[in-house]
């Protein structure tokens, strides 16, 4: 694997990782919102 290919592959991996991170972050916020929201509605 030459340097260019390596760099392209690394960039692709990092771009995919950013997407994964956004998805997980949204899930975490959704769980936070769900628990507070259900407590508010339950009250």
């Amino acid at each position: 694997m030459n340097d260019d290919l390596k760099s392209v592959e690394l960039k692709r991996q990092r771009a995919q990782a950013v997407k994964t991170a956004w998805l997980l972050g949204i899930i975490a916020l959704a769980i936070f919102g769900f628990f507070i929201g259900s407590a508010v509605i339950g009250r």
């Binding site: 694997m1 390596k6 690394l10 991996q13 990092r14 995919q16 990782a17 950013v18 994964t20 991170a21 997980l24 972050g25 899930i27 975490a28 916020l29 769980i31 936070f32 628990f35 507070i36 407590a39 339950g42 009250r43």
Partner: protein, 541 residues
């Protein structure tokens, strides 16, 4: 994992050492602004060791006060602050950051990645922590003192806290943000940055256990954040989520808290399972017995951890069907846990075992963690729990799981990988002295607490009836000795890092398994900038 280390891409390793050692020159650039996974791992480990000593000092205050009946040293309110802060610091400041530190160091090297997937967020995840704990510790110097309602923060007691409570809640929020960002980074790294050929079922067990732990963290830390946010608004903004006088339900907090709290226990212990699963094969000179079943058992434990929270609340009162459900679900966890213990013992069975310090701590973990697991089974029996609940039996149980469990595994991991991290060997003689003193005194410290609990001594009290005096004195002596022994641990680490003249080889041990052992000791600042190609003949599973 690699049994034949030499057939990794040697050129890549060479390349690392020719071009990979460009560390930032300045101190601040190196440590404050670092995005390097090894530096951030080191920062986490230094931070957690510091917190371990601070939390340990608080434990010494607790054991000193309980040395004999009567109030000797501290006021009851300060005693309550000590038990609360000891727990918060040990759970969130010592054990969790230590595992994140090892994850930072090891996961990229184990999967053949050049770094964590999101290096800047990695820096941020760490540097939130010192501020969070500075804020938490600062409450001890406030007029209202530190938090004193226990780490479970149960209302209505916790709602009687003073102004410190806002600081405590904000500190917990910051710890949560740090943990969630760290977990996101770990999952993103493992799922996206593996070297070619490193399939999921070829990953080392430490990577697997951390992947599952990271999912647990993302699932439950927002729950804790939600619970403490509602406490905050109840305290300062006149809401009534948990205030019975306003129509709220304090028991609802307990449900929400333990929905977080029980998986939290597994967050502290699953990476320990991974470490032991790495160490036992190396020093038994055999592959890990039942790799796939270890992965599935870990995932099963993680799943079950979400449906057992009610066993912390049997005495609160719940329908009989609820009690039965939580009892049986809790007992079910012993099945995958038993699979793990069986596999560890089978790994050692007929192996060519040697007993270097990491192996001693790993074996100590298997034996003593199992004692903690068995007392957990006793607590799972609803009818029996009415006797054990809120007694020192519970204290003995979870300390057996966390101290000779998680913390012994952390010590095993330190001795196992410190030569890899530093390039220097630690003193094997002093490592063994540390192990034997720790093992003896941790049992002197915690085993008598089973008897105290069975005899009815309640937890979280600064004074007690005279009939509990003897076992408390034995426990305190064990506590002081265990605490003093940990200075040996710190001295061994400092000696290894700064003074040791014995250089570590790349493999360090006799044919260890894993990509990290293909790198030199210490590894270059930037390793695996050219990813290794992992093939089937390089892995054992």
């Amino acid at each position: 994992m690699s049994s034949e280390i030499s057939h990794t891409d040697i050129n890549a390793v060479q390349d690392d050492h020719e071009h990979g050692d460009h560390k930032p020159a300045g101190f601040l650039d190196r440590w404050l602004f670092t995005t390097n996974h090894k530096d951030i791992g080191t920062l986490y480990l230094i931070f957690s060791l510091t917190m371990f000593m601070i939390g340990g000092a608080m434990a010494m205050v607790i054991r000193a006060e309980l040395f004999m009946p009567g109030l000797q040293l501290v006021e009851p309110d300060f005693f309550n602050q000590m038990i609360t802060m000891h727990a918060l610091i040990m759970v969130f400041g010592a054990v969790m950051p230590a595992w994140v530190g090892f994850a930072n160091w090891l996961i990229p090297m184990m999967i053949g990645a050049p770094d964590m997937a999101l290096p800047r967020m990695n820096n941020w995840s760490f540097w939130i922590l010192p501020f969070a704990f500075a804020m938490l510790l600062s409450t001890l110097f406030m007029d209202s003192g530190g938090p004193a309602a226990g780490w479970t923060l149960y209302p209505p007691l916790v709602l009687q806290s003073g102004t410190n409570f806002a600081f405590v809640v904000f500190a917990i929020h910051m710890m949560g943000v740090s943990s969630i960002m760290g977990s996101i980074n770990i999952i993103a790294t493992i799922l996206n940055m593996r070297a070619p050929g490193m399939t999921l079922l070829r990953m080392p067990m430490f990577v697997w256990t951390w992947l599952i732990t990271a999912f647990l963290l993302i699932a439950v830390m927002p729950v804790l954040a939600g619970a403490v946010t509602m406490l905050l608004t109840d305290h300062f903004f006149s809401t009534n989520f948990f205030n019975a006088a306003g129509g709220g339900d304090p028991v609802m907090f307990q449900h929400i808290f333990w929905f977080f709290g029980h998986p939290e226990v597994y967050i502290l212990i699953l990476p320990a399972f991974g470490v032991v699963s790495e160490i036992l094969p190396t020093f038994s000179r055999k592959p890990l017995f039942g790799y796939a079943s270890m992965v599935y058992a870990t995932a099963t434990i993680a799943f079950l951890s979400f449906i057992v929270w009610g066993h912390h609340m049997f005495t609160v009162g719940m329908p009989l069907q609820g009690e039965l459900f939580f009892m049986y679900a809790t007992m079910l966890i012993s099945v995958p846990t038993g699979v793990k213990v069986f596999n560890w013992v089978s790994t050692m069975w007929q192996g060519s075992m040697t007993f270097e310090t990491p192996m001693l701590f790993a074996i100590g973990f298997v034996v003593l963690f199992t004692i903690g697991g068995l007392s957990g089974l006793m607590l799972a029996i609803t009818a029996a729990d009415f006797q054990y609940h809120d007694t020192y039996f519970v204290v003995a149980h979870f300390h057996y799981v966390l101290v000779p469990g998680s913390i012994f595994a952390l010590m095993a991991a330190t001795y196992y990988w410190l030569p890899k991290f530093t390039g220097n060997m630690y003193s094997e003689k002093w490592g063994k002295i540390h192990f034997w003193l720790s093992t003896i005194f941790v049992n002197v410290l915690f085993f008598p607490q089973h008897y105290l609990g069975l005899a009815g001594m309640p937890r979280r009290i600064p004074d007690y009836s005279p009939q509990f005096a003897d076992f408390n004195m034995i426990s305190s002596i064990g506590g002081f000795a265990f605490g003093a022994t940990q200075f040996i641990f710190v001295a061994i680490i400092l000696h290894c890092v700064f003074r040791s003249k014995v250089k570590a080889t790349a493999k360090v041990w006799d044919n260890p398994i894993g990509l990290e052992w293909t790198l030199e000791s210490p590894p270059a600042y930037h390793s695996f900038s050219t990813p290794p190609v992992v093939t089937q003949d390089m892995v054992r599973q």
